[in-house]
């Protein structure tokens, strides 16, 4: 996964997509690569993960070798015009940008192409060894990574059409670009992941680098111990324990029982995921951390888990 030069990290809302993107970037930076991590939706979740107030379009160095930025289509347009159309219209870009924003809101693929174009540009110019994109959630990711194809169909002539060619070359090269899909071992996220993989394979030409199952409850017991636990978790042994250990032992057993029940359900969903993903794509497991405040600590723990899985 880390051998590639461009990774899009996606997943259903709430599965920890941003944390995983930050962790992948941190892990790569720790191996000495120059890494850029970019948040696409400007929600500020990436900044929270790194515990800074905010990021901007201009990259900020967060730790040695790791830069972070947030996508802004207006800045991207400005940079694009400066680089490719050679219009240094700093003063006059105001009304232009406003109009543009407006067209972009309605015209298909325009915002996406500017965002993806900026990312591909960074890859092409080799400003970094690896670019990690905290991409759109699973519902919007196909529109995002397939934007160059969509634009090529809609726009018959012009500079933009010419430029979709090199973008597609970068995006469709499995050695260069990969998609990382984050999920949790729950019904809806797993179902959405399976559906997304099908769509990505049939509609985009972007290779799937890995699927990451986040917040997987670790097994408390071996299979035989689990049977023993089920027998302890019966009225009679519970009463005996309550007598010897204290009344609140019931709460402790209930907590273990709930946690074990949730783990078993999760294990079922994971199995369904593995079956659907197939052998060609690795499924990486990140255990539940039992600490839920997102931030630097969580990012580095998740980075450790990913390292354990891939190295």
């Amino acid at each position: 996964m880390l051998e590639r030069r461009l990774l899009f990290v996606t997943g259903k809302g709430g599965v920890g997509k941003t944390t995983v993107a930050a962790a992948v970037a941190e892990l790569a930076a720790a191996t000495g690569k120059r890494v850029l991590v970019c948040e696409m939706d400007a929600k500020g979740a990436l900044a929270s993960a790194f515990e800074v107030t905010s990021f901007s379009f201009a990259p900020t160095e967060v730790v040695p070798n790791l830069w972070a930025m947030t996508m802004n289509t207006e800045d991207s347009l400005r940079e694009y015009l400066r680089l490719f159309v050679r219009i240094p219209l700093v003063g006059r870009i105001g009304p232009l940008a406003r109009t543009f924003d407006f067209v972009a809101d309605a015209a298909p693929g325009v915002k996406e192409i500017l965002a993806v174009g900026k990312i591909c540009y960074e890859v092409r110019e080799q400003h970094y060894d690896l670019v990690v994109v905290d991409a759109e959630a699973s519902g919007h990711i196909v529109a995002q990574i397939a934007a160059p194809q969509a634009i090529r169909q809609l726009v018959q002539v012009g500079l933009v059409r010419d430029q979709t060619n090199w973008m597609i070359d970068i995006l469709h090269d499995p050695e260069t670009t990969g998609l990382v899909v984050v999920t949790t071992p729950e019904e809806m996220p797993v179902t959405e992941t399976i559906e997304l993989l099908e769509r990505v394979r049939s509609e985009t030409g972007v290779d799937i680098a890995s699927v990451i199952a986040n917040r997987v409850l670790p097994a408390l017991f071996s299979a035989r111990e689990a049977q023993v636990f089920d027998r302890i978790d019966e009225p009679e042994p519970r009463a005996l324990l309550a007598e010897r250990v204290g009344g609140k032992v019931g709460t402790v057993l209930d907590a273990a029982s709930l946690s074990e029940a949730r783990r078993r359900i999760g294990a079922g969903h994971l199995e369904r995921l593995r079956d659907a993903v197939g052998a060609s794509v690795p499924v990486l497991i990140i255990p539940e951390l039992f600490t839920r405040a997102a931030g630097r600590r969580v990012v580095s723990l998740v980075a450790d888990s990913i390292r354990d899985e891939i190295m």
């Binding site: 219209l89 006059r92 309605a106 018959q156 729950e186 996220p189 049977q227 273990a256």
Partner: protein, 399 residues
């Protein structure tokens, strides 16, 4: 029906009885769809109401169990089998069994319907529907899902067919998109920019102001694409008045006292933070915040002082050979195993208790909102059928 409206203390049932529209919102992955369906089942069985739940994407097993399949039934409303509903929950004494209806939100069908309604004539209608950009745009146009969701809510309520319409909102990029969708739609159609953009293609006169834009745009995008876009907007402009009026009605509905918002969240950091933000914004817009549902929480008993002590004792008794032996005999298991299991259970409790403490902190933050908060514990099974929905419903009712 003179039902008092400002009675949040009285629980979720009051809300179901007093309101006619419930908008269920919150971060992705917090269980909005299941909570929406559960509220619907509750209103039908406990209040005898005729309820419609407009949902976005129910989990497949739940959809199948409710007799809703995914194979495009568009915006059709479907009734949940009355016999199945009665079997899952006999109506409360003195209450006649209500009706539970479900419909799925179909953005494309929703748009087509809008065009049919607002197009001034059949020719223009067909022109828009056949326009290639229209096909592409409806999926993403000005926060399309959010607007269509609100629009459908308005229409279903106005149909007068239901006592209560519950809407499960689509996943948004930003929480506020939903609240602002009608306003944006109005702004879009009413904006001078739209007119300005389409001017050169109507009058074929380039104004001084727009000239640089078209020069650059021509070079970058090609004039053909721009012309396609402009033609499409010209078509749309003919429907401006209808759209603006309609969006105004939808906007008004969101602040209507008969509408309440229900924010669903788990007690994890990010969703809880978003829920707080969303609740504040709902109030800032003078919309009615009905309840905050804290979903998938750990039982509060975990934080009781005695529990942590019991967990430590459990680790100690794992080495108490006499006790371990006694349990082993009773349950017919190897003593070594029993010792291991007791130790593991005691040790894991510590992890769970940490999570419970953090949850308690977030709960306190959300309770500061001063609105009705409803707690749903983490259930040992996924909710897959009516029985599961009603079990969830009982938890919603309990608080």
């Amino acid at each position: 029906m003179a039902t008092p409206r400002r009675t949040p203390e009285r629980g979720i049932e009051t809300l179901l009885a007093a309101k006619e529209m419930l908008v269920v919102c919150g971060s992705g992955g917090t269980g909005k769809t299941t909570v929406s369906a559960s509220l619907g089942a509750l209103a039908a069985t406990q209040l005898g109401a005729r309820v419609l739940v407009l949902t976005v994407d129910p989990a497949r097993r739940l959809a199948t169990a409710l007799g809703l399949d995914h194979s495009g039934f568009g915006n059709t409303e479907r009734r949940i089998d009355p016999a199945a509903l009665s079997a899952a929950a006999p109506p409360a004494p003195g209450v006649k069994q209500g009706e539970l209806w479900m419909a799925m939100l179909d953005t494309k069908a929703g748009w087509d319907e809008l065009i049919r309604r607002h197009a001034p004539d059949a020719a223009l209608r067909d022109q828009v529907l056949a326009n290639p950009l229209y096909q592409n745009i409806t999926a993403r146009f000005v926060h399309s899902h959010d607007y269509i969701a609100m629009e459908r809510l308005q229409e279903l309520h106005a149909s007068g067919r239901y006592d209560l319409v519950i809407i499960d909102t689509p996943p948004s990029r930003h929480a506020l998109d939903l609240l602002d969708a009608p306003g944006r739609m109005k702004e879009f159609f009413g904006s001078r920019l739209l007119r300005w953009l389409t001017v050169p293609y109507r009058s074929r006169l380039f104004t001084v102001a727009s000239k640089p834009f078209y020069q650059v745009a021509d070079r970058v995008l090609g004039s053909r694409f721009l012309q396609d876009i402009a033609e499409f907007f010209v078509l749309f402009q003919s429907m401006e008045r209808g759209f603006v009026k309609r969006a105004g009605e939808v906007e008004h509905l969101l602040v209507d006292p008969r509408t309440a918002f229900i924010v669903v969240t788990t007690l994890e950091a990010a969703p809880a933070h978003e829920a707080h933000f969303l609740a504040d914004e709902i109030r800032a817009r003078k919309m009615h915040l009905g309840a905050v549902v804290l979903n998938r929480t750990l039982p509060p008993s975990i934080r009781q002082g005695g529990a942590a002590k019991a967990a430590r004792s459990l680790i100690e008794v794992a080495d108490d050979l006499a006790l371990v032996e006694e349990i082993s005999t009773r349950i017919d298991a190897e003593p070594v195993m029993v010792g291991n299991v007791l130790r593991e259970v005691g040790e894991r409790f510590h992890d769970i208790a940490i999570v419970a403490s953090r949850e308690a902190e977030r709960r306190a933050e959300l309770e500061e909102l001063g609105t009705l908060t409803v707690t749903v514990p983490s259930l040992a099974q996924d909710v897959n059928d009516l029985v599961g929905l009603l079990e969830l419903g009982r938890h919603l009712q309990e608080t």
